[in-house]
Each structure stands twice: as C-alpha cells, then as structure tokens.
Amino acid sequence: MQDKKAHKFGMVIDLDKCTGCGSCTVSCMAENNIPFKEDESDKKDSITWMRVYKLTNGKSFPDTQTAYLPRPCQHCGGKGDHGHSPCVSVCPATATDYGYDTGIVSQIYTRCFGCRYCMVSCPYHARYFNWWDPVWPEGMEKYLSPNVSPRMRGVVEKCSFCYHRYQLAREQAYYNETDEIPEDAYQTACTTACPAGAIIFGDLNNPSHRVHQIVKPDPHPDPLNHDVVGKSRNPKVFRLLERLGTNPKVYYMSEKEWIRKVGDSYLDGEWDKMKNHHGSASHD
C-alpha cells in the first residue's frame, strides 16, 4: 500500500519452448521449502506447487504431437477481476486473501484449519493439503530457506509467486527510498530456473515489462462474457478455462492451435466459432 499504483504480477509460459524438463518444479520445491515424500509418485500425498502436465493431440503416428504445460497457482482475480478468487471467496477462516496491491492470492498457513474447501473450489488443482508434518533427511533442514515458513500437518498450501522474493525486492526499494521495483528485482524461482526461458514473469500493469508486451491484456471486459477481464489481445496467448471468468494471471502461449484448444473444454464446433470471434489464424 506504500506503492503508488497497484501491481498485477503475472506470468506467460511459452508452451512451444517448454521441454517438460521439470526444472521449474525442482527449483520451486527447493525455494519454497516444499517437503518431498518417500513416494513422490503418490499424487494424493505429494505436493507440487508447480506441476508439469503432459498434453497430446490425440493423433496416432506420424501426426502425434506432445507438449508440456507447467501449472503454478493461477492467482485468479475472480469474476470481473474484483479479487473474488474461487479459493478466497470460500475460505471460512480468512486464511487466504487477494492482495489488491499485487494481484497475488496470499495465505496464512497458521490460520488455515484444513477444511480443504479451497482445494475443492480451485478449478486448477493448484492447492495441496499437508497430510503429514514435513520431514527432511537429517542435515537437509539446514538448506531450508529462512524466507519461507515451512507448513505443518493439516494445512493447505500453494504457489505464492515466490512472494518472499517480492518482500526482499521491496525491502531493497525501501532502502533506496524508491517506489520502483525493477523487473529483474522480482522474479519467481521457476522463471529463473527454466533453461528454455519459457517462463516470463513481471507486472501485467507495467507496459515496460515483457509480460505486458506479450500478453497485451485487454483492459475492457470480454463482450461475450463480462466476467472475463484482461483477455490477451495476442492471438497466440490463452488462459486455462478462461471462459469460467476466474481471470487467471498465468497466461500460456503457443503457435499450435491444438494446444490452445486444450486450454478449455469446447463443445463440437464451438472452438471454430470462438476462433473466428478472436480472429486468430490457424498456425497448424
């Protein structure tokens, strides 16, 4: 609130660059003190703030194509982008709220009592429940980041867009007595770890930031659905389940039409109508 104008931190992930290597997931876990389990393949127990999904176009050889989709918390702005994110609006403990100054969905782990309503309401499965207290192999707890508090059994956690890095960047800005937080002063761990440079992070409200330049967010509500705000004016850019009106701040980018189509569920023939409405040309 010290900042003169509100930020709106967001992300663009270039799915054509993503190789599915999983560096984002690993760096995220190391950065955010995410405990790993004896059996990480048990997806009911494992916690992955940043999870990589595999997409296929469903065609047989030689037309088969594969892509990978990293999925952090989408930091939804909710219907009309008013901050009523699905998870925030259902939390009975006010343990999660929408930061109007950053656009980041924040959380107090110690306030959460583990009802998991937010996990049910999240359309992106971005939230995870701690079934157990975190355990690290002996000596490894010395590698934990002091900037992120480890979570205890019985609470929900999710990607925070590495908010502690924003806290550090802001402290530096306070020290320099400026309001400006340069683009490179606040970058998430996954962004800096991606070897392909597929993840781009920055302030969607700041025209000098790369995310803004790529996404070109539409300031006006979508004429077809007034709940949808900030739709990309770049025909290659889409959001997951965009028509729900959750207004995620994570955008995805691809040249391939089938990938853009996977971002939402369409009825027969609906995609072609949507496509024509957007005027986006096929690149396949």
């Binding site: 609130m1 010290q2 343990a95 999660t96 709220d97 929408y98 930061g99 109007y100 100054d101 950053t102 980041i104 924040s106 959380q107 107090i108 782990y109 110690t110 306030r111 900037n147 992120v148 508090s149 480890p150 925070s160 908010y163 502690h164 806290q167 550090l168 802001r170 402290e171 530096q172 800005a173 306070y174 020290y175 320099n176 007595e177």
Partner: protein
Amino acid sequence: MSEIENKTEHGSMDGAKECAAGDPKNDTGLGLGVIFFILAFLICFLSGWLLFPKLLYSKHEQPFNFDHALHVQETGDCESCHFLREDGTFSGIPKTESCLDCHTDEPMGETEDEAIFAAEYVAKQREVPWYVYAKQPDCVYFSHAAHIKAAGMDCVTCHGHIGESTSSRPYEENRLTGYSRDIWGNNIWGITKNPWDSMKMDDCAVCHEKETGHKGYCFQCHK
C-alpha cells in the same frame, strides 16, 4: 407384588422422605452450596489468572548481562549495532564480529559480564546465543526497512526505552507455543498501554489500519 412395583414404591417413599426432611435443612445446604461455589470460583479464577501464567512461561537467563544504557552512551545510537544492511534487510542481533569493532578478547571494563563475553565468545570465536525478546513466530515476515525508511519511525516507537536498560531481564518462553512472552505481553488480560507492551497480529493491524487505512493482506506480514 412385582419387582417393578416394589421399586416404584421404594422410589416414591425415598422421594417423600427427602421432601419431608428437606425443608428445614435445605437452607443450610443452599448456603453451603453458595459458599462452596464462590470458593471454587475464586480458586479456579485466581489459579487461572495468577498461577497459570507462571506455569505457562519458562524463564531463561541471558548468557550474560547486557548493559544497553552503557553501550548507547559509548556508541551514540541504536544504529551502531542494529542497522539496515544495504540490501534493505535488518541486522537485528549483532554478530560477535561487529562487537569486535570496539572489543578485543581483553575486557575493556571490569564487569564480570564482559569477562564472560571476552573469554567465552570472543576468544572462542563463537556467537552469543542471545534470547531475542522481540522474536516473532516463524510464519511472520517483518520489514524493518518499511517501518524505518518508508514510514519514518524510530526504534522507540515499537521497542520502547530498551536503550535505557542497564540489565537484561529473563527471557520468558511460552511452553506451549515456544513464543516469547513479549508477543502476548506481560498483562494476562491483554491490556496494553504502549506499543511495546505486546506484539500480536492485532497490534500490528490496529496501527496499520490507522496509518495506512488498511490492515494489509496475508502476505504483507506472513511468509
């Protein structure tokens, strides 16, 4: 006569006896009851408010006594030892290394405390394991830079007149939570006169609401 009838008869007779005998005795019973209630209430109440806090907090003495007043007099201000680093983070408790700007492994004064410091920590190149009164729970993020630089506050506003103290009081730790007693404050009723009397989330929120018009979002003070 069946068993049930027998029981009913006895039951009703017992009831009748009680009623008949109850009238004159009932008054003393009630009086005793009231006295017992008041006594029990007082015992529970007093043990809750006087004894429980004593049991709840364990006391730890600092490794050795620290004279803030003397150090402020020698160095001039708080910032000589507790300063903002260039990256905006706060140095908090100084490392032994910064004490060595003035101190050596030979004591400068004649106090026993300095002798302990020189022998145990300077000579052995160890850090002093101070108990930090103002230590917040792990989930709390606090930016000194925001308060000092952006809000222009001074140390005394939140920490009180600690610079005038000549001795270190015992550190009291909540046995259940492991938090410092300074978080809740010494007053078990939760009444505070000064900002430094307690440092709970609500205390932060009251000031934030007054000064910035908003309590802040979760991540503003949590990590």
